[in-house]
């Protein structure tokens, strides 16, 4: 799936994560800024990478500002950002969501 334009989801509130997805041309580039980088940085990157792979997104710039979000929150915000960035807001990917 292609990123069509820059899109944002999430807030900077505590326990949330804010994603900004934009077009990229050199694979998945993740720029993560997290309060819990030391303890959960790897885990957060894994959640992001796995979910992008499930959506078949191969080229994207991911900017993530994390305020201690749980995995479920990270997934929900990233799905919202992906649907907005790929103009598929009204076509949820049931295979991934299931």
């Amino acid at each position: 799936m292609e990123i069509k334009h820059t899109a944002l989801a999430g807030t900077l509130e505590s326990s949330d994560i804010q994603f900004t997805l934009s077009k990229g041309d050199s694979g998945v580039e993740i720029n993560l800024d997290s309060q819990v980088e030391k303890q959960f940085g790897k885990q957060i990157r894994k959640v992001i990478t796995d979910l992008l792979a499930e959506y078949g997104i191969e080229n994207v710039k991911v900017r993530a500002v994390d305020k201690g979000a749980l995995d479920c929150t990270i997934k929900a915000r990233l799905i919202a950002a992906i649907q907005r960035a790929t103009d598929t807001k009204n076509q949820p990917n049931w295979e991934v969501l299931g």
Binding site: S14, S15, Q35, V36, K38, Q39, F40, G41, K42, Q43, K67, G68, A69, L70, D71
Partner: protein, 513 residues
Amino acid sequence: MLNKVNREIPDDILKDKNYKPFETTEIGNPETTYVAHQVKVSQGDDKLVDSIPDVIAKTGLKNGMTISFHHHFREGDFVFNMVMQEIINEGFQDLTLAPSSLTNVMNDMVIKAIKAGTITHITSSGMRGSLGDFISHGGLKDPVVLRSHGNRARSIENGDIKIDVAFLGVPNADAVGNANAIYGDAVFGSMGYSLMDAKYANKVVLLTDTIMPYPNTPASIKQTEVDYVVKVAKVGDPDKIGSGSTRFTKDPKELKIAQTVNQVITHSQYFKDGFSFQTGSGGAALAVSRYLRKSMIEKNIKASFALGGITKPTVDLLEEGLVNKILDVQDFDKGAAASMASNENQQEIDSSWYADPNNKGAAVNQLDVCILSALEIDTKFNVNVMTGSDGVLRGAIGGHQDAANAKLTIISAPLVRGRIATVVPDVTTVVTPGDSIDVLVTEVGIAINPKRKDLIEALKNVPGVPVYTIEELQKRAEAIVGKPEKLQFTDRPVALIEYRDGSLIDTVYQVKD
């Protein structure tokens, strides 16, 4: 070697600094000798000094000496920065800084003094913010020594801390050195921690913005203890000394925890007429006093005393007749500080009276119920109030180790904070040993220290208070946040955590970035 809470204490630290590893929370009845301080005899007529540079010269401050300050002005302190800047300017080197604690407003000046070589050793109750970060990244060669308030009193008495010059800010003083903290612009109520410095330092300097006519009473610090009095423009910012009015939390999680803490207290054998308690200043702790008040009225139970750092809600209980006396070592808000002037039953106590393990009986030994907070608590009930989840110094021991000797010590803490678990398999830093903790209260339920069979029995059927093992609570927290990666440290110690008896309970290492 491994100490009794299973922490590896480096042998060279034990040897070089003449430390014993932590053994037990039992203090017993050892014999000890207090050290005396030097007295330069004065007739009292020439104590008033015009400026900080003049008074530094008069005290005979020299390289290598120990200087002290108190932290009663909290974030409104002007005195520390004024004096320290002058000491740096004059080029002093290799001083030991031994304040009762360090607040954020002092951080930049401490870092500056370390970089200038003015300060090379520190002992404190704790440190936070930029200073904690600086020290945790190896900013000071010699490890910082962290002591509880009771332990600081013990160390001053037995000479582990030998203060050469104490610089003590006070809201008022007369020209001969009688001072209190209940009148003036920058009142902070109890002078508890600074009274030790006044009694034991070789040279005692008072700094004040308000000179009173002689004799200035009530005198918490007395003229017999004071060498010099300096008039400065302002000792502190009254708005930043304590929070203005105490607002009760509206956070449902904190309210649930507070309600459960109250259930634990009222269903324990200690909740009877004449009981005593110490709360703290956190959101949940403040809310406890509201629930406790209601239960005391319903059951017609009155407390003999409330202890510790005092807040307005505790003063309200005193004025309502639900608490007979307050033993007050420190005031956390304006209401508590102001009421010290009008309530004769709000007794100022020094930190030895409050919590010293090596005197003839401290107030904490008489305490029934104590509510404390935690950054982390582990499955052995060991508590960390010193290092954050990233391993960086960001707290203070305060009276935690001391007050934990209450007959019923309750830790109130949420199961998780954001993505960080509070209940963990092993705390990053052991500050208070699990042996002195009795009950953990979280928003989902409580865990009772298995050695307290009496409490397990008393609390097993309290409506709305599910009892778990602490391992169950730890697993529940991990199920929510996941398993964190282990923090990485270098092998260089940056701070030594003493237990209240002066033994070593844990070591904090430089963080790896």
